[in-house]
């Protein structure tokens, strides 16, 4: 079992006062985690060699190796450790560099409550996935693969000076880059306030320069290098994801439309994680949990992450996430039916879903789904 011990966190910051004040406040709050504090990256690497940690929270400007270099080293040597940046930097260049390797970025000043929520989510994510190998490989990833065609098209578009609209067109429906853009835009460097869940909004917030900079970086955007079958599956995933996203969005109440699209669009992110591992899913829920784990690690909005995690067993979802989960669940079933071109009246809708939803909702989903199916290339 993974989370039997308290979560172990290593803070690295060159300012002793930052470490001392964190230490003091955390002890007083009696947090459930073990925290250690160190001022240099060399010291951090020594500690990591002798003790186990689950999370490293590093400043960007630390002596010897800077924060990005330290986290890159950790990604290579200790792939299981979650990588978090806590920095007072505000320059776009530094932030982009950080987001290539960090799972999440927090901005100074950051209160204890924020740190606590972050640790809580990391802990929950690990407990839910409960698959050591999958946890390790998902944690090591800094990006997901896109179909080779998308990768080639985007590279050509950017080097020939294409605008944001053109790039958005190419990216439309790409799961990997949607996830990454939402991760980056939600880092504390770029947005404060409510989480962003749509690619359109992310593109607007980040702007052409940052988006192009991101997309040209191999740490963020890469083509899939796997074999033929997997590559074809990746292409198929693109249309499937977009259809589920559009349907979930169409079915959702207006205030949830953006989140519903994001959850639908990203519901099979776990398949990309499994593809990177070159491992088939043992159970149908593996990919859902793996996707939820990765996107939780990347700091996506909690309800969206839950909807992805539970889209095959909506009964597990509670609170705000229940409705989103239901939307993704039914959307995927309808889209699956359409893909098989054999829409059966006895679609295997989860009983938990039926308990919460009317059968007319399913009918409505089918009608709208068919319309979207016909309109989507």
């Amino acid at each position: 079992m993974i989370a039997e011990h308290p979560i172990r966190v290593l803070f690295v910051d060159d300012e002793p006062l930052v470490l001392r004040s964190l230490d003091r406040a955390l002890r007083q709050r009696k947090v459930s985690w073990d925290a250690r504090f160190i001022e240099t990256s060399t010291g951090a690497l020594e500690l990591l060699a002798s003790e186990q940690f689950d999370v490293v929270v590093a400043d960007l400007r630390i002596p010897v190796l800077d924060g990005v270099a330290l986290l890159t080293e950790i990604q290579r040597m200790y792939p299981r450790i979650a990588r978090v940046v806590l920095s007072g930097q505000v320059g776009t260049d530094d932030c982009l560099r950080a987001m290539r390797v960090a799972h999440q970025c927090l901005a100074k000043p950051c209160d204890i409550g924020t740190l606590r929520r972050l640790m809580q989510r990391l802990e929950n994510g690990q407990r839910l996935l409960d698959d050591s190998e999958l946890v390790t490989s998902a944690t090591q990833l800094s990006c997901l693969p896109s179909p080779p065609s998308v990768h080639a098209e985007v590279s050509t578009a950017i080097t020939s000076g294409a605008g944001l609209a053109e790039i958005a067109q190419i990216l439309d429906g790409d799961v990997a880059i949607t996830a990454k853009l939402i991760q980056v835009v939600n880092s504390a460097f770029f947005t404060q306030g409510p989480p962003v869940t749509t690619v359109q909004r992310a593109l607007v917030v980040l702007g052409t320069d940052v988006v192009c900079n991101l997309l040209l970086s191999v740490e963020v955007f890469r083509g899939f290098e796997g074999r033929g079958l997997a590559a074809r599956r990746l292409e198929a995933l693109r249309r499937h994801s977009k259809l589920v996203g559009l349907l979930a969005q169409a079915l959702a109440p207006r205030e949830l439309a953006g989140d519903a699209f994001a959850a639908g669009m990203l519901h099979d992110t776990g398949n990309l994680v499994l593809a990177c591992l070159d491992r088939p899913a043992h159970q149908v829920t593996d990919h859902a949990r793996a996707g939820g784990f990765l996107l939780g690690l990347w700091g996506l909005k909690e309800a969206v992450v839950d909807a992805i995690t539970y889209h095959h067993d909506p009964g597990e979802a509670t609170g705000d996430a229940a409705l989103l989960t239901d939307l993704v669940h039914v959307s995927e079933i309808v889209v699956d039916d359409l893909e098989r071109a054999a829409s059966s009246p006895d679609a295997p809708v989860d009983p938990a879903w039926l308990a919460r939803n009317d059968a007319t909702v399913l009918e409505r989903a089918r009608t709208i789904g068919r319309a979207i199916w016909e309109q989507t290339p």
Partner: protein, 469 residues
């Protein structure tokens, strides 16, 4: 329709003036020609085309004396109705002669076409040339003249004058157009340069702002964490005091013996909190004063930046401020040594000067970082000021890798950078150069030795004794 060309005719002989009128006035001409036209119509059945120089209408001005002619010309020119051509007799007693008249006419209207007429061979062309610069606007006509000759002269000279004016007009228009074009381009270029300068400055300000934000965010972090601790620990203290009070109450009511109360009080663990609280408060105060310091160093030249004019600036203060602002850039890679001499003030913009020094310090820090990362050990950053008797010099010396021969000519070029994409804008040194050389009329040069380091030297003219306050 344009008004007919005006011809000035000056001759002291009234009879000759009337001859001219008969030859050139169209009304006279028309009367004589009408009968001819009748004939032509009778033969050919159509009206003759009114063509040729002989149909030209003129407005004639007939005068007897040179002085009158000069006055009339001045009035005509002033009224914007200049004469095209003047037929001037040479001998016109008692007034000035024709040659003098022409000389004066040309002073008023240089483009006027002149025909000098004389019955006497008293002036040769050479004589006339000696007194006038004939150019291409002077003809000689011998009396007695043939009427047709006069008509041809009048027609071709007025036409020549008209074309000359038209050409001059066109040239003037063209010149004005070119001038306007040049001015527009120049304005555009100036505006463009101004924009570039502003955007360079904004870019530099952005860099500075990012640096300042970092310098503020870090102390804010530990100040707020310390205060969070204080907030958390206060209820603990309150609880502790309540427990002590309960012990006292126990003794008072006889429920507890003094021994028991003491034993219980010993278990109330406030010692940690009481030890830690002053430290947390002291840390918070350190944070606040560090923030105040940063804000102070920004503010100290923020108001100077508003004034575009240059004022006497204390260079040493700017060196210290720059070092403080750029501290974050060099502190891991080098120790800073400051050797400031007593120097006179320079005329400058304190904010811009400080920024220029910041840029040099950042550049030096990066050079030493590169060397340290490559295994070259920690560096030394030296900032020195001195007075040469004319110039105040600021020297920024690093112990980095030096500037390779191949790129020495390019270091002040905008956007030239040796750093990987994303790590430097390549603007720092070009901003420093523009600030020092363009804005402050100073100099910026460097001495460098590969493997040893680089010294950038800013030279600024000192404020002369008693020159400024």
């Amino acid at each position: 329709m344009t008004s007919p060309p005006r011809i000035l005719i000056v001759d002291d002989n009234e009879a000759i003036l009337q001859d001219y009128r008969q030859i050139l006035d169209r009304r006279e001409l028309a009367a004589r020609q009408a009968s001819l036209d009748e004939l032509e119509r009778a033969f050919a059945g159509n009206a003759p085309a009114a063509t040729g120089p002989l149909q030209q209408t003129y407005e004639l001005c007939l005068l007897h004396q040179g002085e009158q002619a000069v006055r009339a010309t001045a009035e005509a020119t002033a009224a914007g109705r200049p004469f095209a051509c003047a037929l001037v007799d040479i001998r016109m007693p008692p007034g000035i002669d024709g040659i003098e008249t022409v000389a004066q006419l040309w002073q008023i209207a240089p483009e006027l076409e002149i025909v000098l007429c004389s019955a006497y061979n008293d002036y040769s062309w050479e004589d006339i040339s000696r007194r006038l610069d004939p150019g291409d606007r002077l003809l000689l006509l011998r009396k007695p003249f043939d009427p047709m000759e006069v008509r041809q002269l009048a027609a071709s000279l007025t036409e020549k004058w008209r074309r000359g004016r038209e050409l001059a007009d066109r040239l003037r228009n063209l010149e004005a157009q070119v001038q306007r074009e040049v001015e527009t381009r120049l304005r555009e270029r100036t505006r463009h340069e101004e924009e570039q300068r502003r955007s360079r400055r904004l870019g530099a300000l952005g860099q500075l702002a990012a640096g300042i934000a970092h310098e503020i965010n870090t102390p804010t972090q530990f100040t707020s964490a310390s205060l969070e601790y204080v907030a958390e620990v206060l209820p603990v203290l309150a609880e502790g005091f309540a427990s002590y009070r309960a012990c006292l109450l126990g003794i008072a009511t006889g429920e507890l013996t003094v021994q028991q109360a003491l034993a219980r009080a010993d278990k109330i663990a406030l010692a940690d909190a009481l030890d830690e609280l002053p430290r947390a408060i002291s840390d918070a105060r350190t944070g606040i004063s560090r923030i105040a310091q940063v804000v102070q160093s920004v503010r100290s030249h923020a108001h100077l930046r508003d004034a575009e004019c240059l004022v006497p600036v204390d260079v040493n203060a700017q060196v210290r401020a720059a070092l403080e602002l750029a501290r974050n850039e060099y502190r891991h890679d080098a120790e800073a040594v400051v050797e400031l001499a007593e120097v006179p003030r320079v005329m400058g913009d304190a904010g811009d000067l400080c920024l220029a020094i910041v840029n040099l310090v950042v550049n030096a820090a990066h050079a030493m970082r590169d060397k340290r990362v490559a295994g070259g050990g920690s560096g030394r950053l030296t900032l020195t000021t001195r007075y040469t008797g004319q110039l105040v010099e600021i020297m920024v010396t690093d112990t980095g890798g030096g500037i390779p021969e191949a790129i020495r000519d390019r270091v002040f070029e905008p956007f030239f950078t040796t750093k990987p994409i994303g790590q430097g804008t390549g603007q720092g040194l070009s901003i420093a150069h523009a600030t020092i050389v363009e804005r402050h009329r100073g100099s910026l040069r460097f001495e460098t030795e590969v493997g040893v380091g680089t010294t950038f030297v800013i030279g600024l003219p000192a404020v002369s004794e008693g020159g400024a306050t």
